[in-house]
């Protein structure tokens, strides 16, 4: 239960918001209400293995803090009626999920149900000032729309490595200008609330775990195939970040000794063969060389094609586009097969923009992964598409900051 654990201490900017758990029991109560919905005091006492007196006192304090409310009598369990407790209806979180070519922003309630979500195109290469300005403007508009004037917290995901504890981007290959940029503190100052920053793949994994297809999975991988390729790793229900916070950086696994140059400067990276940018590059080449009339027809004003164009060409039955998708799936499957042998996960979720092309990609990934892994590890291994799509980023980002706000750890900043 991350709501009572240490790392948040470093990872969140301190704010003097009234609404914040003060004790580990309060934190556990809030996390239960978030994950299970309204519960009676008797149920809360059972779940937390503490006395009803303790629950009563802690709920009273949470009510004073504006985090919980008493919501009438609970259904009878035979004995004395217990009181139903719920999260305060005033709690609002924002989730800002920033990708390489688009961003999603959402406002959620305390249980992380989205009240409103908006998507906007963006170009991460324009640098942090411009991209964050767009994200923050979108957030404020959305807040006005749903009548929210203050947030309890905001989660932010960015498409590159992050120093989770310092809240900054670090040497992101596809994000010029972002290296060392204090994303967390800038967003926190602007929105006036605690902020947690993580990379987009971790945020997506957590979103799918909270409300999507990975809801009951303890050990799973979330593989994002977008402009780049990355992987969120969940071990025993918790995100695994690695000792330097860069676990899951599978886009730069070398799949060939030679090959196209990657955004990171090396050659042979998975991402340079199979990511959205690679698809766009290969599709553009196929269009210009006359190998595909359908792709050539999509070339306008001499601009390069996008991964979305490849998807459109697939849906029109273009064999070159289908072949590009298959080749991408084959490369991803090749790497996943190794990871399955190593990690023996219980589930693999595939998400990210490229999955818009859907089942032809999934079929190829599945085929290669199952064929090349040991039967013992794949006997019962579902490989499925993300259920929430872009909303996973919004929910995951909100989930991350809810873990900090519902925590009793002293925050910092």
């Amino acid at each position: 239960m991350e709501s009572a654990s240490g790392p948040w201490q470093d990872a969140v900017v301190r704010h003097s918001l009234a609404g914040r758990a003060e004790t580990p029991v309060q934190a556990l109560l809030l996390a239960r209400l978030r994950d299970e919905g309204p519960l009676s005091k008797a149920q809360l006492a059972d779940r937390l293995e503490v006395s009803r007196t303790t629950v009563g006192a802690e709920v009273a304090r949470l009510t004073e803090l504006g985090l919980a409310v008493e919501a009438g009598p609970a259904a009878s369990r035979g004995g004395r009626r217990s009181t139903l407790v719920d999260l305060s209806p005033d709690i609002r979180f924002a989730g800002l999920s920033i990708g390489a070519t688009g961003l999603s922003v959402g406002i959620t309630d305390g249980r992380l149900s989205t009240l409103a979500v908006r998507h906007a195109p963006c170009d991460i290469r324009q640098g942090p000032e411009q991209v964050l300005a767009l994200a923050l403007e979108t957030t404020r508009k959305l807040m006005a729309e749903v009548g929210v004037d203050g947030l309890s917290g905001a989660g932010v995901g960015v498409p590159g490595p992050v120093d989770f504890h310092r809240g900054v981007s670090v040497s992101p290959p596809i994000m010029p200008g972002w290296d060392g940029y204090p994303v967390r503190d800038v967003v926190s100052r602007d929105l006036g609330c605690p902020v947690v920053l993580d990379n987009d793949v971790n945020v997506l994994a957590v979103g799918e775990q909270h409300a999507g297809v990975a809801k009951n999975a303890r050990d799973f991988l979330f593989v994002k195939i977008g402009t780049g390729i990355g992987c969120g790793i969940v071990v025993d229900g918790e995100l695994y970040r690695g000792v330097d916070g860069c676990a899951g950086d599978i886009g730069h696994i070398r799949v060939e000794d030679f090959g196209p140059t990657c955004a990171c400067g090396n050659t042979g990276c998975l991402e340079a063969f199979a990511g959205g940018a690679a698809l766009a590059r290969d599709a553009t080449a196929a269009a210009r060389s006359g190998r595909s009339d359908i792709l050539a027809g999509m070339l306008t004003d001499g601009a390069d094609l996008t991964a979305a164009d490849v998807g459109a060409a697939v849906s029109q039955g273009d064999p070159v586009a289908v072949q590009l998708i298959r080749e991408s799936g084959r490369r991803v499957g090749q790497v996943l097969a190794s990871l399955v042998s190593f990690f023996n996960p219980g589930l693999i979720v595939i998400g990210g923009g490229v999955t818009a092309v859907g089942h032809s990609l999934l079929a190829e990934v599945r085929g290669v992964t199952y064929r090349r892994s040991l039967p013992l590890a794949t006997g019962n291994l579902p490989i499925v598409l993300s259920e929430l799509g872009a909303d996973a980023g919004v929910i995951g980002a909100a989930r991350m900051v809810s873990g900090a706000v519902y925590s009793s750890e002293p925050a910092r900043g």
Copy 2:
């Protein structure tokens, strides 16, 4: 702290030994004494955050159970003298580490210091009856030698996948006759003590973590290059087994689409290129074809060469043998580079029989791994040889069963 966790409940055969922790606090006390040595009651109370009264009562009970002793007054900390507590000097564990071509057996005290260790050659392909008979006979001889008539527990490692909870080997590629064999129960009946069974790589990883080079590592990989190749994964100080218990099976990661046939029946597996059996195969071919006079000189009676012969040829400066070792290291490094990008470990320990050839292998593994991984993940990543060698298996196996004996979970059988 595995001494108080759930899985042991399934993984250990029940025995009516007197000596077994009865409460979580007793279990934590025993684990502290194992890992830190004698401690005063005051120190134990501090470490466990319980009252001195509780420590006094639990230590008294552990003394009755024959698990702990009071060892005189502790050094003064200023106030009232506290009493020093130690593990009972009567506690004895056995560690049985069975490899494909040899086994190691050791007897340890309660802190897992080895009192005696013996190595014997064996051939895992002779099947469980014969191999276990040898291991058990060696154990009994060793017990007689050091004057032990009863064990508090025994840990067993075998060179293949294990159903940890049922205590049986499962579909082990290089172990005909072992599939489904109830190793744990057979050893437990013979030695009359609780037994924990795991695969040899996990056992080696735990041994290195308890007493070797990985002593302070929380997230690390132990890579064994023996007849086969496997990997023990430690996440946040605990072994990670995967959802089916087969995590770390990296020997069967496919590194080429085609290649020599592996013991598992597939082609292109890492193990079939780089394991000890592959080295022996390639060295024999080189000897027979006249490519290496030194290797040819080692051929006797038409028998095949072994990986140890390759090591001997390397120390004589044979260029073919050196090339074989380099090639093996290159293949292992190629796979490790992917795993480093994925898992971002803090340490990689290389062990197993092939490491007897030492630094030429390590240099190659290091070179390829560092070159092919992202700088962020390798900036501070030591890749080192096992410190304990074969003793790691003995200590790791004893460590595993100590976790069960020092646990308060009801055991089963």
